[in-house]
Subunit: 153 residues, 2 copies
DNA sequence: CCCGATTGCTTCAAACCTAAAGCATTGGGA
DNA sequence: TCCCAATGCTTTAGGTTTGAAGCAATCGGG
């Protein structure tokens, strides 16, 4: 006998598969960013958030959008600023707030990165059967909803 | 007109969902490990690999099992050794190799962590419909196979 | 108006992570 | 036997990440 379980083994199996596949894809993207464009995924994520917003964002808005800590964004934005991809300026109406803007150079850089990123993702996932891709996308949407309903585990 | 696409938008959408759900779960587990057990996921991963193997593992075997760099394992194992959870010893037949063993304390510690970890995962995923869980698990298996077929993007 | 709480961000210590360089050991060919 | 390439690990520099402490600016009650 294996004794009474206090948890369902199937859920752990699902989690390990989710984690495993995500890590493999993420490592390949990370490697591509480093090898072909001398940058990193976190920097790409910040540029993507700014591009998506279409307007300057506060540091706090960035950290909420990316699900990372405030201090983390400070460091990443600092290197992006050093490399000329973004500029920082206090908001006139509240000087505590630092607004981050994409420069023309940053926007052009991001366009390159996004094209490469999308191409890599497409290459990696294109071997998947269309119906598998559809059901994965739908099921992950359901999972996301389940996770939202129970915010704190 | 949007012009000819060189990639399929649906693949990127799937990737973003995969990444988003994985990050949410991972952050909660990370938080739980820190708050309830004063440890981290990478440390847990190393202990899990040793427990799973059931015998001492070389540093290189650990880094391959965890998909992380060699130097990374060096650092994590160093802190685990400092805290008395593992011991390090050169292999007699080849002194270049460092064998990592779980101590009794490390094994007991891991048992606690594993129970908590499985409980958290079970709680987070238990809201999922059984058939959704089954199809997710199966589809992720297919995705994993697809990724294995094309090792380098 | 004033002062204490709040808010937005930065700094800090500790840990994680990688690629590249370095060190020690091993093994194979001349 | 000797040497040198290959192997296993560690070190290093640079970047990512967090939580907590700290600083500056703002806001609100008295």
């Amino acid at each position: 006998m294996t004794g009474a379980r206090t948890y369902d083994e199937g859920n752990v199996r699902l989690w390990l598969r989710l984690l495993g596949t995500t890590r493999v894809i993420e490592k390949r993207l990370q490697r591509g960013m480093a090898d072909k464009h001398s940058t990193t995924l976190p920097r790409f994520d910040v540029l993507a958030a700014l591009d998506r917003a279409g307007e300057p964002l506060a540091m706090g808005a960035l950290s909420r959008a990316l699900l990372v800590s405030n201090g983390n964004v400070t460091g990443i934005v600092r290197t992006l600023e050093r490399d000329g991809h973004v500029t920082l300026e206090p908001r006139a109406s509240d000087r505590r707030v630092s607004m981050v803007s994409l420069t023309a150079q940053g926007a052009a850089h991001f366009a390159d990165l996004a094209a490469a990123h999308h191409g890599w993702v497409d290459t990696m996932l294109s071997g998947l059967a269309p119906e598998t891709r559809a059901s994965l996308t739908a099921d992950l949407g359901e999972l996301k909803a389940v996770l939202s309903e129970r915010p704190s585990a």
